[in-house]
Point group: C2
Chain length 83, copies 2
């Protein structure tokens, strides 16, 4: 079966996010003064084969831990969809 | 009312994504040979105030078009949640 894993990787709460601060300030300069905070992160769509949805979730979890995220400073979340 | 806008920005289909190719190759080297494709993108969480959900959606759409995405090569999608 073919799956698409949709992965979001964010800096953990408490880790300084200078890109988010810069984007918030840029939005203020564009008159979006109602913005109080911006968090930035990475997004991945991974297309892969697996025998079942639970196996797909296990495989994607391993990919997140081994390559897609840095567990020291980042947290990840994902959902798996059938293609 | 306080809202959180969750924005995903991806390269349009057809735009070369060298980072995605690199990650796919790295996953193959880590024995995830079942991966056929990786798309990379950006993710933003924007916390802001608006009077209603429809106004929040309109504001976030403007932010995406004016700053968060490059409409020449990128496409965006978002959802708005009440905080």
């Amino acid at each position: 079966m073919n799956f698409i894993g949709k992965v979001v990787v964010l800096l953990k709460e408490g880790v300084f996010d200078p890109q988010g601060v810069t984007i918030k300030n840029a939005l203020h300069n564009l008159s979006f003064s109602q913005v109080s905070r911006v968090r930035t992160g990475k997004y991945f769509e991974v297309e892969f084969e697996a025998d079942s949805e639970s196996e797909a979730e296990n495989q994607l979890k391993s990919m997140c831990q081994e390559l897609l995220s840095n567990p020291v400073i980042e947290e990840y979340s994902f959902q798996v969809e059938t293609e």
